[in-house]
Each structure stands twice: as structure tokens, then as C-alpha cells.
Symmetry: C3
Subunit: 344 residues, 3 copies
């Protein structure tokens, strides 16, 4: 059974607690308005402040400013950043199956591969020639790691991940189920009768602490490498074209697509389904709202958007018609202006 004391070992609190408070049991984690006795909660955004007074949680992570508003029934843990503290503590309650440090009997590992101590490998994983897997790494069931790929220390591949030949993943990465790293880029030369595929000679190079969601596709470079820098986070079903570079700390939400040879500076973000044309440069700290249609690079950080938000279809149909009439509308306006100018 966890107690408040176990939490204190993981987050730095700004207040001191009584021994009785330290021994309060903590059984789970819940939102302020849903928490029951025994549960840990947190107040991060001011908009939930009203919930604090009525929470049934036994322990709450709060900023100094909210400490006084905690109910007496509740142990307040004062921290600088309650959301970050919640993130850190959430792992105490995780039920994800833990790594076994064993290689499944049915994992097929080429004798030329180098598998470090403490690697966990699931059933039916396949590891090719010359692959290097760092200490503490996890390779899920049915993963396919092709020849000469490198998996860094403590990097976790969930079930059914493909890492193509020669791709390199850094340390402490997480790659979720179904993702393909090192697919061939969409590079073809037109011929008289169809297309001649261009061999995709580059790799995908992934830094440290990169997290990539499920069923993503990251193309290997055509000549040079596709590059995902450290601390990048990528959601599900994201497509990264060949030769793309994603700068450190950038966050890409679900179903984002980045066409070939586009480069992101560090600390950018893109909302879900945003699409980036190829061969453009995105400046550091550029942020894009969901479904943005990004056809040009940015030269400075900032927030960028496109699209007309959904509305009732009958209003939308009128709006589309009005936009389509703009050409004639502006001609009418010009005619009026001329008329008035002439009469003056």
C-alpha cells in the first residue's frame, strides 16, 4: 500500500508535513470532482479551483496560492507545478505489465545481433543481423527489427513495431504498437510508362526520450537521413516523409502529415490533422492549430492557423456561395466606387 511518504520520494514539496500526514494511504488517482477517500488529485488550472473545496481526495497537489483553500480532510502537497507533479506520480499507479528482463523463447534473434543485459523481448519478435539493442530496452511481441538497426538503452517498443534496416533509435524512447520506422519514402522518377522507384538510402535517426504513438509511419531518407531530434513527442497515425527533420521538443498531434524534406525547428507544435507541404522550413516555436494547411514555411515563431470552423450546413452552403461570388461582389463594389467618383 502506497502512502503519502512514497509520493514525497518522487516530487519536491514546498511545505512540510506531519508524520500522521505522511502515513496517509494513497490508493489511486482521480480528478478533483471524482476523487474518493484515499485518492490523490491535483489542481493545476484555475478553472477547476471551485472543485477544490469539495473534493473527497485524501491528498491534493496544489500551488502555494491554493493551499489555504484545501479542505481540512485533505493532505495538501504544495509544489511549483502540480501538473508536472501529477505526471511524475501517475506512474506509481500504472498497471502496464512490467518488463521481465527476459527474452521470449520464440523471439528469433540473429546470432550476429548484440542484445545487452536486461533486455525484455516478447514472443515472436524477430531481430535481424547486426542489430544492437541497448541495456534495459524492451522489444514487444511480433516486433520486426531489420538488419543493422540500433535500439538505444531503455527504449521500449510495444507490440508489432517495425524498425527497418539501419535505423537508429536513441535511449529512453517509446514507440507504440503498429508504428513503422524506416518505411521507404515516396520517391519516384516518372518514366514513359509509369514510375521508377528511387532507392531510399538514408536512415531514420531518432534522438533520446522521443515518444511516438501507434500506427505512425516515418520514412527513411532518400539520400541523407530523416531526423527526429530528442524530446520530440508524436501522437498516433502521424506520417513523416523522407528527409524530414523535426527539431527537439516539438509535439505533433494525431494524424499530422509532414511531406518530404520539410524541416521543423525546435519547440514547435501542430494540432491534429495539420498538413505540411514538402521542402519548407518551419521556424523554432511555430505552433499550428488543428487541420492547418501549411503551404509555406515560417520565418518566426508564433501561432498559425487555417480553415473555416464547422457550422450548420445550411449556413455553410450560403457561406460557400458568398465566397464563390466574391469576384463579382468586388466588381460591383468597384463599379459603385467609380460611379461615385465620377459624380463627385
Amino acid at each position: 500500500m502506497l502512502t503519502v511518504n512514497d509520493l514525497l520520494a518522487r516530487v519536491q514539496t514546498l511545505n512540510s508535513l506531519l508524520d500522521a500526514q505522511k502515513s496517509v494511504p494513497v490508493t489511486g488517482l482521480a480528478a478533483l470532482d471524482k476523487a474518493q477517500t484515499g485518492e490523490l488529485s491535483f489542481l493545476s488550472s484555475p478553472k477547476y479551483r471551485r472543485q477544490l473545496a469539495h473534493t473527497q481526495a485524501s491528498v491534493v497537489l496544489v500551488k502555494e496560492v491554493d493551499r489555504a483553500a484545501c479542505p481540512a480532510s485533505c493532505v495538501a502537497l504544495v509544489v511549483v507545478d502540480p501538473y508536472l507533479a501529477y505526471a511524475l506520480l501517475s506512474h506509481l499507479f500504472d498497471s502496464v505489465p512490467s518488463a521481465t528482463g527476459r527474452l521470449a523463447d520464440t523471439a528469433q534473434i540473429d546470432p550476429s545481433a548484440t542484445v545487452a543485459a536486461g533486455v525484455t523481448m516478447g514472443p515472436y519478435a524477430v531481430v535481424g543481423r547486426g542489430v544492437v539493442i541497448g541495456p534495459g530496452a524492451e522489444v514487444g511481441a511480433h516486433c520486426f527489427i531489420d538488419d543493422f538497426a540500433v535500439i538505444g538503452a531503455h527504449t521500449r517498443l510495444q507490440a508489432r513495431v517495425t524498425v527497418a534496416h539501419r535505423c537508429v533509435l536513441g535511449a529512453h524512447c517509446v514507440i507504440q504498437s503498429g508504428t513503422v520506422i524506416g518505411s521507404n519514402g515516396f520517391g519516384y522518377a516518372p518514366t514513359e510508362t509509369g514510375w521508377q522507384a528511387i532507392a531510399q538510402l538514408g536512415r531514420v535517426l531518432i534522438g533520446d526520450r522521443v515518444e511516438i504513438g501507434a500506427n505512425c509511419t516515418l520514412d527513411r531518407g532518400a539520400i541523407e537521413d530523416t531526423r527526429i531530434d530528442s524530446d520530440v513527442i508524436i501522437d498516433n497515425l502521424v506520417h513523416i516523409g523522407h528527409n524530414v527533420q523535426i527539431g527537439a521538443r516539438t509535439a505533433l498531434a494525431g494524424q499530422v502529415g509532414v511531406a518530404g524534406s520539410t524541416h521543423f525547428g525546435p519547440s514547435c507544435s501542430a494540432g491534429g490533422q495539420a498538413g505540411f507541404t514538402g521542402h519548407i522550413e518551419i521556424a523554432a516555436n511555430s505552433h499550428f492549430t488543428g487541420q492547418a494547411m501549411v503551404t509555406k514555411g515560417t520565418t518566426e515563431g508564433g501561432l498559425y492557423s487555417s480553415g473555416l470552423p464547422a457550422q450548420a450546413s445550411k449556413d455553410w452552403r450560403k457561406m460557400v456561395a458568398r465566397v464563390r461570388q466574391l469576384e463579382t461582389t468586388m466588381a460591383r463594389l468597384g463599379a459603385l466606387e467609380k460611379l461615385i467618383e465620377d459624380t463627385e
Copy 2:
């Protein structure tokens, strides 16, 4: 060989047939204008009514109103809803490999898992600790069902499906190949140097008769559960974020994306590539056209849309320019108005 009599066992007809009609052989299923002798067809939409008189089909599902227009060569099966009758009868002609009720030798099932009678399991499937699989369920080749997941009775997982730990699927569901149920939601707290992942403690709870397409991703909840209610149908490559709730009977078409914590009421639908921002509430019976960019919730049902349909690029470029000039256009209009007001 199937006969009309076999069809009658599956759909309720409003007309009675002669014995000679009941023994007509039925060899396949085809559209009215393509059907050959021996084939079954149907007339559902009035726009195909003209094809009825000339159809070569031997058997046709029709509404009462269309009965008289059936050619004499044709056995008319009068039903309330020909499209639904076609859907029911289509399964008679399906060639999908049937379940064997056997567990493949190479399926690796943890001894602590509970596998009911009559379960079919394909080669190289992996079933973790404490998993429960209901009677008549099918688990395809290379599926990975992680610890303590539950698969309801008669639910079918095609090849290469991932069901993460503790996720729960109801009865009579179909999950197509490559789909990942229970991926980790995109939840991170920013730190000074990057991102701290938040443990995703919730599950994915899926009701009964839910059908999910290929290569979808459904994230588990951050604290509470992601919930897909009964009778929901989801097409391929759809992304469902963490904590999302999809109300009963809702239909989501291909490549739809739903960001975290958004809730759909029952009986909604979304066209292909529609995108939903996070933390919004979609009222029951809300319908969205394809590529809709949904940034706000709806408080009542209805049809919602966004986007400007594609047109010839030279017209599109002009249109974009005109929209970009709206600010100055409206200033010009205001100036004219003022001028005229002043002169009056």
C-alpha cells in the same frame, strides 16, 4: 446450392411464393444492372428503379410499391426494407474463411488466461496473463492481447490486432486487421527540457456489436476510461484520443480524428477525415460532412459542415486572393457608405 427457400429463412417477406418460385436456385448477388440469371439483386433507392424492368436477376428484393415493375422472369421478394434484407442475405454468399473453433498450436496463451469453449485462435497469436476470452470469439493470427484484457463472446479480431492491458471488448464486435486498442493517450506535462509522460491509467471500454476498421488507434483513458458504446461503427485509420466517449449507434468514416476528452452523444455520424478538437460535447444526432473542422461542440442535432470544395486551381487562387482582401474590401464598402451618408 442455395435456393429462394434459403433466403426466406432469413428475411421476412410480405408476399407469398409458389413452390416453384421457392426452389429457384440462387448462385450469387449482384447489382440490378449487372446481375445474371441465378443471381439475387435488390432495389432500394428510387434512382435505380429504371434498371428493374431490364434486370437479368432471378430474384429481386423490392418494396411493395415496386413489385409490379418486376420482370416476369424474376422472383420478387417483397420486404419492408430491401437494403436491410440485402445486408442480411449478403452473408449467405460470403467467402470469408470460417472459424475453426480451434486454437492454433503456435498461439501462445498464458496459463492464467481463461479461454472459453469454441474460441478460434490463429497462428502466433499471443494472449497475456489473466485475459478472458468469451465463447465463440475469434482471435486472428499475430494478435497481441495484453494482460487482463477481456474479449466478449463471439467477438472477432482479424489478424494483427493489438488489445492493450485491461481493455474490455463486448460481445459480437469486429475489429479489423492492424487496429490498436488501448494505445497510450497523448498526455505529457511540459518540463524545462522537454516532456514528462503521464501514465495512462484508464482503459478502453467497448460495448456490444461495435465494428472497428483496419489500422485504427483507440487510446486508453488518462484517468477514467475511453468509452465506445454499443452499436458504434468505425471505419479505417480512425484516431480516437484518450477519454473520448462515442455514443451508441454513432458512425465514424475513414480517417476521422477525435481529440482527447471529446464526447459524442448517440446516433451521430462524421464523414471521412472530419476532425474534432478536444474537450467538446457533441449532441445526439449531430452529423458532420467529410473534412469538417469541428472546433466547438453542438447543443442540438443537425447537419454541420465546413470547408470550401475543390475547384480548378486558377479559380481557387483568385478566390484565396479575394478572401485575403476582405479586410480592405470591407473598409472600402464602409468608406462608400460613409461618403453617401455624408452627402445625404
Copy 3:
């Protein structure tokens, strides 16, 4: 070690070389501005012409017109189409693991399947009843090929590809990792309480030399077949609905979605994330820019577009407001026109 002579065996040059030039070693392939001594490069687009004079490459593919501008240090290979020559020669430098022509011990092949000579099959591949695999084909690790599917000669399936029952792939195709061919189309008849699935009786028929990216989904036809004609190229995460037909030589970029029963003529293309509604006809040589929202068919070839490109969010918000005011703006314009007409 490769020499220029090896290159000459693969591309037809328009100039003749000295023996000394033919024996120049070629160690790799690089862009003009990055190439080192020993490397091959190419000049295709005029916009890189300035780089030619300074390239360190030992061999350059050029058009006749650029021959004189090659540095003296460099062997010029004059060809009609340098980009196509580069594409052809790139394969000399590819490090993709080569086919072994062997069937892995753990590949599970039904005894009724026909596997031609020289087929390569990876570990844990599963091949169903009556499947036919042509000579020289490659079936990656963890592939699942269901009953009665046909894989043409020299077609390559990367790891973790699903080919559903009865689907037919032609010769010399490439299907990348995670792609699902023959998923069930999104076909349901509404019932009073939910949905009745329609059996998807058609197949997916794929021509020769078709290349399909990673994690795509191609639905089988409802009654007739879904059809991908020869020489089509499809990027990652593309969704093809049931009954779709894609004409020869068409190219679909990443995350494109094509709804059911839409037909493309030959030699079309679609940029990333473009979406096509169902039941429309796209004329030959129709090209669509990225994110195009295609709601109507085209009757002639040409370039089609939609969408408003991303801009700074504060400008975007104004633009959205202006578009929303168009109804009243036009009323104001009409009122002015009337006023002036009345005063005239």
C-alpha cells in the same frame, strides 16, 4: 568496388568516355552540394545549376546542356533524363537486406498453398489455404496471407502485411509494412437499433508494378472488386474505400482518403491528406493539391485545389470573421447600389 563502368551498364549515356574515366571508383550517392570525392551526383532541376561548378562529386549525371559546366575533376555522364538515371542507379547503393530465396522455418504455409521457386518468406509469416505465390516473390516476417489470395511474381511484401482472402496482387509490386489489403468496406444497413453489416463479397485486384506505402488500408469490394490498376503508386496511411477504382499510373500521396465507389481515371495525382467523397468519377489527368476537399467528380483533366493556406492566427481570426459577415456585407453592398440607383 563499383566503378563508372558499372553505371554505364545500367543507363544509356549520350557521350563517350575514356577508359580512365570508366575506371573511376564510385563509392556512394549524394546531392551536388554535399557530394565528396568518389560520389555520384546528378543535376536535374535548373535551380541547382549553380551548384554544379563547385561540386566535389567524382561523377555527375547531366543533360547535354549542362555538360560544359561540369568541373574538370568530374566525370560527366550525359543522359536524356538525369533524374530517371539517378533513380535507376540509386539501387546500386541500396543496403536493403537482399532476398534469400528461402522460406523461414517458422513460416506457416498451408499444404494446399502453391509457393513458386525462389520465394523468400520471413519468420512467422502465415499463408492460408489455396494461396498462390509467384516466382521470386518476397513475403516479410509476420505477414498474414489469407485463403486463396494470389501474390504475383517478384512482388515484395514487407513485414507485417495483411492480404485478406481472395485478393489478387500482380507482379513486381511492393507493399510496405503494416498495410492491410482487403479489409471489409464500411457497408452497413441501418436497423431500428443499430447497424447490420453487409458482407463484403468483392476482392481487391492489384495490377503490376503497383507500390503501396506503410499502414495503408484498401477495402475489398462490396459486390464487385476494388481495383488498383498497374503502375499506381500510393504513399503511407492512405485509405481506399470499397469498390474504388484507381486508374493506371495514378499517384496518391500520404494520408489521402478515397471514399467508396469513387473511380479515378489514369494518370491522376493527389497531394497529401486530400479527401475524395464517394461515388464520383475523376477524369484522367486530374491533379489535386494537398488537403483538397473533393466533393464532385471532374470531367476533364487539370489541376484542382481547395482550402485557405495557413496564416498568422490573429489574421486568420479576422479572416474567419470577415467571411462569416459576407451575408451582411453583401446586403450592405446591395443597399448602397439601390440607394444610388434610386438617386440617379
